[in-house]
Symmetry: none
Subunit: 158 residues, 2 copies
């Protein structure tokens, strides 16, 4: 049915209209309640309000057409040679990562959970948590995903 269609399409506008109508009715009720004689002004004010609200909406919709320009930010990070992976020992030393921490980082990058990493390295889950915490602190990140992302960019892992 067309009525239903237009309802779903312009629901917001219609709800706004209904709200306005309800408010005007409320005002009229207040008038009647307190016996205010000169109600002409309220009607006038309401009319002006509706009119200029519409004008404002029209103005906003007409004038604000900022065609969103897609911004491309090119950021050159590091050169990963077309050959094989070479560990960036400079960065590794700069960050001060230990052997074990690097192992944990590598397994993290393969998508393993802490529990699985613990299994691979034959240590407890708590140990992995300690390693990863120190790892994040040294790399100055908050999450394993950030650590992996940074490690790949710094060529700490393949």
């Amino acid at each position: 049915m067309t009525l239903n269609y237009y309802w779903t399409r312009y629901r917001s506008v219609l709800i706004y209209g209904i709200l306005l109508a309800a408010l005007l009715l409320l005002l009229k009720w207040l008038e009647w309640r307190f016996i205010i004689v000169d109600y002409a002004f309220e009607m006038y004010a309401g009319f002006i309000a509706i009119l200029f609200t519409g004008l404002g909406i029209w103005l906003a919709l007409k004038l604000s057409k900022p065609k969103t320009a897609t911004v491309y930010i090119e950021k050159e990070i590091l050169i990963k040679d077309n050959g094989e992976f070479v560990l960036n020992e400079l960065e590794l030393n700069r960050l001060g990562l230990s052997k074990r921490e690097l192992e944990v980082l590598q397994l993290m990058a393969q998508g393993l959970s802490n529990q699985e990493i613990a299994g691979h390295l034959f240590v407890s889950l708590n140990t992995i948590k300690t390693h990863s915490s120190k790892l994040f602190e040294k790399m100055d990140v908050q999450r394993r995903t950030q650590a992996v992302d940074m490690a790949k960019k710094l060529s700490l892992i393949p």
Copy 2:
């Protein structure tokens, strides 16, 4: 309850309605108080007109979809010495990932938390959770780190 739901959805309309009611009541009060209507009606009407034009503009900007800021997707292209990133559309179609899901995946790979992704895409945290859940299901993985690892291998992300 669903009350909270409707509040977040129609907040703008409700706030506008409340403001409108408050303003009209204020005007009525001023009228009773100082009886300025008789002398400065034009000024009064002008005041209302300006006010509601502003409100109309505000309302339009609030209700119109934020299509202004949404398209910024391509971000941080890291260039390596040879060969740029080309999206593997075959794999993309095979997995059946939607546009939005791919966006979420890209932001995930940059180490963002779900909360941060929600902020970037101007949606709620729950939406990101839904997207990521479907994403993991389609990619047949359990964790975001696995998803990122696979996506890189399949060349779905740089």
